[in-house]
């Protein structure tokens, strides 16, 4: 038998692959074709002012879904590259860290729509005569909703690499490149992936805003789900909205199953904690691992990586003069600090004079008052959401069987873009003549309350079994049971959830305080509606003012409330 083989061309006989390869082949091919098709559509010729037809016909939906998903993945890729560059620079150079970290802190509290209104004209000018410029603006807007938390997570992970592992990598002469792939990246992987998933959900929320760009009286609708929804809202077509919701759900389900689940399951090996944490499972990953061809693709990458290790390795050790660290001059460090301080002061002065000459003091005060309204709304809503979700979360978390199932649903709900529910609210408010100031508020927390829920679930499920038995044994009941046992036990995870929910709600206020349905606009008093309104009219000084004031609120809230609560929880209420 063996000799017979030699008569056949090598490709036939040794053609690798097993039945798993064959089964997966159509899937891979289909994906490639779709990607190529979608990408080609992105660079079609386009002149500013031309109308891009958006059809509400259901047959167009899959195409729109493809375009939107493609856009989001491109933004995700850009975010990933940005995060790596940011994290490497900030951890490697002390001087960069001083500048970059506060910068990111500010950037992440700037509402996403703010970026869009400022950058879109620049991007269009960059690619004249092509749709690619507008695409870039949309992708950039999605990028701004995805990048910051990924960058922070990566930076945090790089900083908290276990000391002994860092020492080991130095003792065993790992170069910077080798260390990055062998230590830093693997260590950061689980939390980076988790944040990528969160980013993806966050991106959906702003898809509508980023695809249907209406800045400075320009009205461009890029083909995509977001534009479809925008059209449906203009046309007051609830049926189309329903279809869009369905398509979106399908999209979320698809990339969850085809992209994130396999990645999460794969990243399980990078978990650093020895115990705890349930392993994710993915049918696709199991499938992929059984194939030969695709496996060898992975092996090829691993081979290339190890080959690069011998290229980028240390050529000297600790006895060479090159290993000697030069004394960092305190003068240089201080000069850098001074330069930064000067830059900040100059920027503040410019911003203040700009706003004041264009807007005036009374408007500033007015915007601060509006900000206060939104502040009250955010805090009240988090309180209300806590009243509902903390007991529910504790109950679910303490029943492991239910917890596993609900956790999956809650993650799905978090990915679901809450702004699709907005039209329903508007119809309701208009129909029953309700006060927008109250009835628009729930929209702010609609998408972010899930963070509360699944953090509380996670917290409750980590209550040590022995403590549960002890509580039952003592016979803790009623309010005592809540005050002395359950609430303190979930407090740390509640704070974590509340921080995320609060940040998200501020951001969502821009979309949820100013909602349109056809030609009716429902508006609540608050800083979000102020920014949204000014964006619609293209009033730059007022947009800047609104964004600035919101930043002040978000940052002081983080600093004075959340960080303190967090530290308290870390310090005192830990198992």
């Amino acid at each position: 038998m063996a000799e017979q083989k030699t008569f056949f061309p090598r490709q036939v006989v040794e053609a690798g692959g097993n039945r798993w390869d064959w089964a997966l082949l159509p899937l891979v091919l289909a994906l490639l074709v779709l990607l190529a098709f979608g990408a080609r559509q992105m660079a079609t010729p386009y002149q500013v002012g031309a109308e891009l037809p958006i059809s509400l016909d259901i047959s167009y939906l899959p195409y729109y879904l493809l375009r939107t998903t493609l856009r989001m993945f491109m933004a995700l890729a850009a975010s990933l590259i940005f995060s790596v560059i940011f994290a490497v620079l900030a951890t490697k150079y002390r001087a960069m860290e001083k500048f970059l970290v506060p910068m990111l802190d500010i950037l992440q509290s700037i509402p996403i729509l703010g970026f869009l209104s400022i950058t879109v004209t620049g991007f269009i000018a960059l690619f004249p005569g092509s749709l690619f410029g507008v695409e870039c603006a949309a992708i950039f807007a999605i990028f701004t909703s995805q990048a910051w938390n990924m960058a922070f997570s990566l930076y945090q992970s790089f900083r908290t690499v276990p000391a002994e592992l860092a020492e080991a990598s130095r003792v065993f002469q790992l170069s910077g490149w080798q260390r990055f792939w062998r230590l830093d990246m693997p260590y950061a992987m689980p939390s980076l992936l988790w944040n990528m998933m969160m980013s993806m959900s966050g991106g959906w929320f702003f898809v509508v805003a980023s695809e249907a760009i209406s800045v400075s009286n320009q009205n461009i609708k890029l083909p995509g789900i977001g534009s479809y929804i925008a059209m449906a809202i203009e046309a007051k077509d609830l049926g189309a909205i329903g279809l869009a919701v369905g398509a979106m759900l399908l999209g979320v389900l698809l990339y969850d199953q085809l992209f994130f689940r396999p990645l999460l399951a794969w990243a399980d090996k990078f978990r650093f904690e020895e115990i705890g944490g349930e392993a994710q499972s993915s049918w696709l990953l199991t499938w992929l691992r059984r194939t030969e061809r695709l496996q060898s693709l992975g092996d090829l990458f691993a081979k290339m990586l190890t080959r690069s290790f011998s290229l980028f390795r240390l050529h000297h050790d600790g006895t060479s003069i090159r290993a000697r660290t030069a004394e960092t001059s305190p003068v240089m460090a201080r000069a850098w600090d001074a330069a930064l301080a000067a830059l900040i002061m100059f920027a503040t002065w410019r911003l203040l004079t700009f706003i004041l000459t264009e807007v005036g003091w009374s408007e500033v005060v007015h915007v601060f008052v509006l900000g206060f309204y939104t502040f009250i709304r955010v805090m009240l809503l988090i309180g209300l959401a806590a009243l509902v979700w903390v007991p529910v979360g504790i109950w679910i978390g303490m029943n492991p069987k239910i917890a596993a199932r609900v956790q999956a649903v809650a993650q799905f709900l978090a990915a679901f873009p809450a702004n699709l529910m907005f039209p329903v609210f508007v119809v309701g408010i208009v129909h029953f003549h309700l006060t927008p100031d109250i009835w628009l508020s729930p929209l702010m927390i609609f998408g972010t309350q899930w963070y509360l829920l699944f953090n509380v679930i996670a917290g409750a499920s980590t209550i040590p079994t022995e403590l549960r038995f002890a509580a039952r044994n003592i016979g803790l009941k009623g309010s005592l049971r809540w005050r002395r046992y359950l609430l303190p036990a979930v407090f740390p995870s509640f704070v974590t959830g509340a921080i995320t929910a609060s940040g998200g709600s501020w951001n969502a206020s821009i979309v949820s305080e100013y909602v349109t349905w056809g030609d009716t606009t429902v508006q609540a008093h608050g800083i979000g509606s102020y920014i949204a309104e000014m964006t619609a009219t293209g009033d730059f000084p007022r947009i800047a003012l609104g964004i600035g004031v919101m930043c002040v609120y978000v940052m002081s809230l983080n600093h004075f409330l959340w960080r303190r609560l967090y530290r308290m929880a870390e310090d005192r209420l830990n198992f």
């Binding site: 002994e164 003792v171 065993f172 790992l174 290790f309 011998s310 050790d317 006895t319 290993a323």
Partner: protein, 438 residues
């Protein structure tokens, strides 16, 4: 004289304390590591022995003095110096094989060569069959075997072991230690010298040709001892027992002056580094000392064996007992005093009052806390006052630790109490009121 591998001359290292003043960790330490010798560094935690090891590993840079490896100044980790870590420091996402190969991979050794060398060391160290396993699938002992294989595969000149067996249970640790000694004595490994940092006295004596004992505050070599017994050594042989006794004597001496029960002990200072001794453990040891076979007198190594405590756990307790005049330390022995016997015989209430009396008499910090509190109308003071006082001579962590010990002892004897949430030290009667409120 054998050739010198690592040479430290007048090495000093200090870290900045909370208030910015430098705190000396190592003070003018001279040390040489020569070919074909195993050296053990002993000392209580915080005595700078780990820092010294890290200076030799090139992980920490000395502030003053010369660090030479084979005659060349050392600025960073050298290729010829390998290290085994206390908590193994394995890469959890790499298999055993990949972990072992990492040092070779970093050096750009070709794949085939890498596999061959790794396989050889894996067989030698007793890991065959586990090449494809992830570290999390292995027991602690097996993990440390991986750590050792990873250090040995690069054919190091010097092997540094930083408390390599302290995270393992006693039996596993001893087996691993014997395996390494066997490799060393049979010259199966090309390593020219081994440096072991340990807090286990017996371990040091079983392994080393030379033992150095570190004194703390600031860290310096207090005592050096040559051990010329042939290996393998028997832990139960009179020679080894004799050496263990000697080292116990050195380690307990100096910190507490030994003396007769009748003599007055010299008072300690306000900022004395109170030993980290758990009160439950103190009482347990006192009771054990009264029983057979000790009858009030015990040899420290024997007591350690009898109570299954490590030296790190036992020595602070012994020091605390001596501080409070419950026992006297002498030449590696611990003897109960009359007071100690009285304490053991007493009921709980009586014990508490004896403890309180001794605390106020013997521990100036406790006495000062109590004195200051009783002058306050509310009977309350913030802990910061005392922390500041201690921080003037101790670093921040140490000051916190010392205050915590003082608070723990004061709480136990109800001399004063402490509220964790507010950080306030107060007299016990207000404590009773606070309890009544909640």
């Amino acid at each position: 004289m054998k050739e010198i591998i690592v040479d430290l001359k007048a090495v000093g290292k200090s870290f900045a304390a909370a208030d910015g003043t430098p705190r000396t960790i190592l003070d003018k330490v001279d040390f040489t590591l020569r070919e074909r010798e195993i050296v053990a560094l002993l000392g209580q935690s915080g005595s700078g022995k780990s820092t010294l090891l890290r200076i030799m590993a090139g992980l920490v840079e000395a502030d003053v003095g010369d660090v030479l490896y084979r005659g060349q100044p050392l600025y960073g980790p050298a290729r010829g110096i390998s290290m085994v870590f206390q908590s193994f420091a394995l890469f959890p996402w790499l298999t055993v094989q990949q972990n072992v190969e990492i040092g070779l991979e970093a050096r750009g050794v070709a794949e085939q060569d890498r596999e061959k060398r790794a396989q050889k060391i894996i067989d030698m160290i007793g890991l065959s069959g586990f090449e494809g396993a992830l570290p999390r699938e292995l027991s602690g002992g097996m993990r440390q075997r991986v750590g050792i294989a990873r250090a040995l595969v690069v054919d190091p000149d010097v092997l540094l072991m930083d408390e390599a067996f302290s995270a393992l249970d006693v039996l596993t640790g001893e087996r691993l230690r014997d395996d390494i000694l066997e490799l060393w004595d049979d010259e199966q490994i090309s390593t020219k010298a081994i440096l072991v940092v340990s807090h286990n006295i017996q371990e040091a004596i079983m392994m080393a040709d030379r033992v150095l004992i570190f004194a703390s505050d600031p860290g310096r070599v207090k005592f050096e001892m040559q051990i010329s017994l042939p290996r393998p050594r028997n832990a139960d042989s009179p020679e080894v027992r004799q050496l263990v006794d000697e080292i116990y004597a050195v380690m307990t001496a100096g910190r507490i002056r030994s003396g007769r029960t009748t003599e007055e002990l010299e008072p300690i200072r306000l900022d004395y580094r109170l030993p980290d001794a758990d009160i439950g453990l103190m009482e347990g040891i006192l009771e054990r000392l009264m029983e057979d076979p000790f009858q009030g007198h015990a040899d420290l190594p024997q007591l350690a064996e009898d109570t299954d405590l490590t030296d790190d756990e036992l020595l602070p307790v012994a020091e605390a007992l001596a501080l409070l005049e419950f026992a006297v330390l002498e030449g590696g022995d611990v003897n109960l005093t009359e007071l100690g016997k009285k304490y053991v015989a007493a009921e709980n209430d009586k014990r508490q009052s004896i403890f309180a009396k001794q605390l106020l008499k013997r521990i100036p910090l406790a006495a000062h806390i109590h004195h200051s509190l009783s002058q306050e109308p509310t009977g309350e003071l913030k802990e910061e006052h005392f922390l500041e006082l201690l921080s003037e001579s101790l670093d921040k962590d140490e000051a916190e630790r010392v205050l915590q010990v003082a608070i723990e002892w004061g709480r136990h004897s109800e001399v004063y109490s402490y509220n964790y949430n507010t950080g306030i030290v107060h007299l016990p009667d207000t404590d009773a009121m606070a309890v009544a409120e909640t």
